[in-house]
Symmetry: D2
Subunit: 423 residues, 4 copies
């Protein structure tokens, strides 16, 4: 698994070590990405005195990640992929790949999937599909900023702005513009549909188009930043929780009372009470923002890593409110998860890498959807929500049943799961 | 890279496919983790009709992840690791491994490291080290819940509770107990130091000890959940932002004006203004909770995946307020990041896997610190903060300089970086 | 100031004391509001053994408050009214009545007004005018709730819903409908313009109309509550901060450097730094929601009480972000306040009472605006923002100058103002 | 009710009108507060062209408010006081004075009191009593700020700092110091008990003492502001919600099923469901911060105005989570309100005014408690919570019963209450 330095490489490594050749110039200098990574790795070993023994090197396409996924590569980490399910969602079965190092997580989601399937499956609805980007511009006065706000929010100007926005992309279609003011600074939140891409790039380019256009009518507009944090990307913010970002999805299932007992080893009433006291009240007391769930972040993150999404976006993608209530005269359990900001795509970014693409393929959502652009990304978002539903159901069941000690004895020799499962 | 089905396996695969043998029983049934994973993979191929072609299988120790990291494994995803730096922090140099599929990220942190090094390095301070777990219990009345609150918060009882807490661990030392009430439900937030482990398991076991002890004096105490979401794990909550969770770290550097110009291609004044309008005001307008930064989550996540941390915890671990101001008569730039909830460990969980352990080794923080238990985990937390500092500096520089279009042309053929860089 | 019990009253008082005649039936029983209040007061004296000696009784029209402002009255409290100003706003002068018992507050706003006037006045812009009410309904499933969401948010249905909404009022005009889901519960936030009334009643009645109408198409819709807290009234919520409630106003002024020195006794640079560290950063660290200001609530509350608004609404009406920056090469100070949720009216509620109406009259906004319905309420909102601007400027000046000790010696023998001024 | 200008006054009024004599100098110039207010009023009439006809003048002690409650007074507004109750709380009966102009409010609280009394009364517990003030200081570096943090938080230094803190007051006793950092800015949150005063002044003076003391050991400490917004006063912040400010109180009652039906006209089950969907879930969806209630702000504000508290503080004083659950096999209702930040006092500020003092007297909490300093303020806090409990119970009952239309027909000719009641 190691990358040896072959004949003729020595000089180059020495140049990197001495600083004569910056490490990040290796790819362009050598014209061979794999060799560049290999020599960088050797240089790192010498400079650091430690190197990365044990970090796999072979088996990845270094050309593919150049400029796309990762700069200055020296190898890769392996994240184990377990498969939970099948998840019975909207009448179809999905085998859910989860890349994780957290013990008990796949097992837990798997159990949730079993309870769902035994109850006839889960149903999802996609409520909204719109990526956002909010540049901030400064005007000479708040009055003037208000004029620009009026201009971009005016219904009469929407068609024009939408056509300017669309110049750079086949798929990015402007959906709306919503502004916030702070004195003379104007935050303009553009939202657009983005086909099968997660879409940050698409919306950013569209925004650049519009800003250029606006500059004509508002020459006194000063662009402070292409992102003014009102987007909001990778920060827990209310604007995403209220307005949504990416795909907004709700997913629900009715779990039969018998299944609650046989699979989850607890009762409907205990689960309902637990959800009120932990996920609603406990999070309220903790001052949560969109965090009214047990462990949505676990499932979101594992699916994101497996399928080449941006796991840094789980900050908002895992915003979720989990609701449980007794139905059918208290016999059965209705459970739902509402997730306003699932940011996923099936093209671009890490989805191109072979291992990640294979996980997308397992779910039947690899690449662009030719028939219905955007359908793959939307389907992936519902699978995320469905998997979160399974995960919530199972962990709440374990907590309500007081099973944690047992589950830990069974699954996790280092006991990490007791802690994790109680998230 | 595929795992073929060898002679004698056919029967087992067929049993899994038919449902006669549950997939998650394979490991215990076969007594051979690798074989179990291989046969599961084949069964998955047949059941799903898709399989995971392209997902690497060989080269991972399936025995090592059993019950520890991942259930029902069928292979692993490869996440490319780039190395940024060296980061000059507290007088030492670190080569920072980042596992990411986001273009431009490693390059950006690398540039930040250069600016920091050229200015004499960054300095960090660890303010606090305490993992938390907050079970919720219900008492017959709020009055009674208040009595339990008084009991566990009383200084006079601390020594007793601390010794009960400590029974299950050499390293978990109780630091404090802070309660919140919602009517007759009591959320008891225990905090403890956890050596070189991230510590969720340690604190959970200590909590179980104490709850058992309390049951004697408060027989009317009903345990609702080992976690009442006031902990708070993997949810964006105010309690973590205010009280901290894991390691609380502040990291700072003074960047020389000349370096701002030569490396970041902008000015001190522009950077300061940008930070106020984007990271402070923009996030305030967006209703952020601890999200007063440009893209801390990017760096935290990449380091977490590389070093075997729990990336689902980046929700709170990336809480960060970035401050910039002009110093030395406006010539130089003072920059800091304050991060109250960095949850990291160097033992347990994903840190045990070979590739992740090699990244910890590169940083000199692999495994437990024999001389000073906890020192490795603390050091790792400061490296996370230092890397965030570098990342913030560089992205703010790019935004202030309006470089995004250029940087995207250079680094990212699919242009994803324009979007990402503007986080 | 006392209300004696006259001949013939004795029997009635005794009946109230004995419980034979419920106190709240006095008005309808006696047909004389003043007498009812007088006898209630005497009964209170006997029952409580304390009474309300010192609480003024005469001089208020008890008939006017019946069923409108206050039930079971026994007198009134006196809240002193000081007048600050003139506030030079949008080219006109306003003498601002403030009802308060907080020492230093009127003086502080007065000083701010002086600084503003000496710099040419302040300018305001009303960005939005829309009161909101959000009932919550439950549907049989989340899928069905999503269908109702689609229906009420569909552009094609807006005209119909707007005309149904409008049946009950001349002035309440539906502006928009924005829904949030939590599983199968749907929160439907209606916003409408409300003329010169604060408008909660108007929007509530319109909402009732629409709900009745929707019941036809959605017979499975179960009304849980006319208010589902997504409105949000009298609670600090992100939805108001992001979307606004009532009038959204921004107000700004450029304070000349000389005025900063002569009136505020400090410098532009100190003020700018103070605002960043206190109002932006300090509030961020405290986990504020819309509380990025020094003491907006003080001014909002005093104006609300003086002019008969609902002071319980200051929770959201005082949401405010205060921005300060140096302009004109650092010589002058640009200051602004952005307030998204100012809930005011000039008709209805407490605006009808004589003393409150006189304060509205002083501002030139008493009652409905005949020429341009809604213009009085809008003007009042801008005066609130302008007064907040003055208050922010002055308190920040005092803090920057370290004047608090002095101001307290001068104004407040009980020193309360030191505390208050430092809000 | 008017204040005529008597002989000899003309010259002074003319001087004020012309600007020769600043209005705020009248008191010191004339040495007669009543006359000063009278002449100011006349000058206002001339300058504004409107005056304050209808604003009462006589009957208030203008000497008493000088420098204490209000500057530049010209009269007072009358706020009607209704009396709800008796509230049966902790075994005693309280007649609750509410100063309000919101129709239905007193009636609603009154009904809640009836339901509570019929069920045996409410019980309250005071969990904490500590006013806070958090100055912000800047140090040369974050490292140095961390040193100051360590110093002030060190247990070994507490006694010394507490004795320095206490120099300025008999009652202000330091309870704790908790710091937050943002780079090199340090926010030091001091908490102290304050006897029967609300205590902002007391804690501020103690803080000044400590800052003076610290300056010796930390000469590089630069005081930016006596308040750094981490206190937090009059802003909705998480730090108050998590840590509390002023008095933290929980209040509970068990309402008999029969009473729910006869008094509230609804069922236990409906109330419980309503609370989950509106107060917990609806507020979660709205992004509430401590606003998990129906209309706590209404009751807090009315009691605050009646008893001379600072109504601008209702922003945080009305933070409240209301919990309802079925008990006794579903027959009865357990209801509680948990309020962490009730800021009240019975001395100082508006409590000195005659009308407000009479309301305090009605509750038996006027002035300082000689036997047990602080007992009056604490009792007042529990009465606030108890009244909120009654108000929550009644409004939730009205919403659950769908009574709003009826109640509005009965109580409120202008229908304002429909809107208000649905808060």
């Amino acid at each position: 698994m190691h990358a040896g330095v072959e004949g003729g490489d020595e000089e180059i490594v020495a140049a990197v070590v001495s600083g004569a050749l910056p490490s990040h110039h290796l790819e362009s200098r050598l014209g061979d990405c794999r060799r560049a990574a290999r020599l960088r790795r050797e240089a790192l070993r010498r400079v650091s005195g430690r190197g990365v023994e044990g970090l796999p090197f072979d088996g990845m396409d270094y050309q593919a990640i150049l400029g796309q996924c990762c700069e200055m590569p020296v190898g890769y980490v392996q994240v184990p992929v377990g498969v939970a399910g099948p998840l019975l969602l909207d009448g179809r079965q999905y085998h859910v790949p989860m890349a994780t190092t957290e013990g008990c997580l796949v097992a837990s989601v798997n159990r949730g999937c079993r309870a769902i399937a035994a109850s006839g499956g889960a149903v999802s609805v996609l409520l909204r599909d719109a990526m956002s980007r909010a540049p901030v511009v400064k005007l000479p006065s708040a009055k003037r900023a208000a004029e620009l706000k009026s201009f971009v929010e005016a219904a009469a100007n929407f068609e024009t702005l939408a056509s300017v926005f669309k110049r750079s992309s086949r798929f990015g279609r402007l959906q709306g513009i919503h502004c916030a003011l702070a004195g003379r600074n104007l935050y303009i939140r553009f939202t657009c549909s983005t086909g099968d891409a997660m879409g940050m790039n698409m919306v950013s380019k569209g925004v650049e188009n519009v800003l250029g256009y606006l500059q004509n009518d508002f020459p006194d507009m000063d662009l402070i930043s292409l992102s003014g944090n009102y987007c909001s990307d990778k920060k827990p913010t209310a604007v995403n929780w209220i307005e949504g970002r990416g795909k907004s999805v709700v997913c629900e299932a009715t779990i039969k009372g018998g299944v609650v007992q046989s699979v989850l080893k607890t009762t409907v009433q205990k689960l309902v009470e637990l959800n009120i006291i932990k996920n609603l009240t406990g999070s309220a007391v903790a001052g949560a923002l969109g965090g009214f769930n047990a462990h949505a972040s676990n499932i979101v993150t594992a699916l994101f890593i497996a399928t080449g999404q941006d796991p840094a976006q789980n900050v908002e993608s895992s915003q979720c409110i989990t609701m449980l209530e007794a139905v059918n005269d208290g016999d059965d359990l209705h459970i739902s998860v509402t997730m306003p900001s699932i940011e996923v795509g099936t093209i671009g970014g890490g989805t191109c890498l072979a291992s990640q693409a294979s996980c997308l393929n397992l779910l039947g959502v690899r690449g662009p959807n030719g028939d219905s652009p955007g359908a793959n990304a939307k389907l992936l978002a519902t699978i995320v929500a469905g998997s979160v539903l399974a995960g919530e159901l199972s962990l709440l069941g374990a907590l309500a049943a007081g099973q944690l000690v047992n589950s830990h004895l069974k699954y996790n020799r280092s006991n990490k799961d007791v802690a994790s499962a109680a998230s």
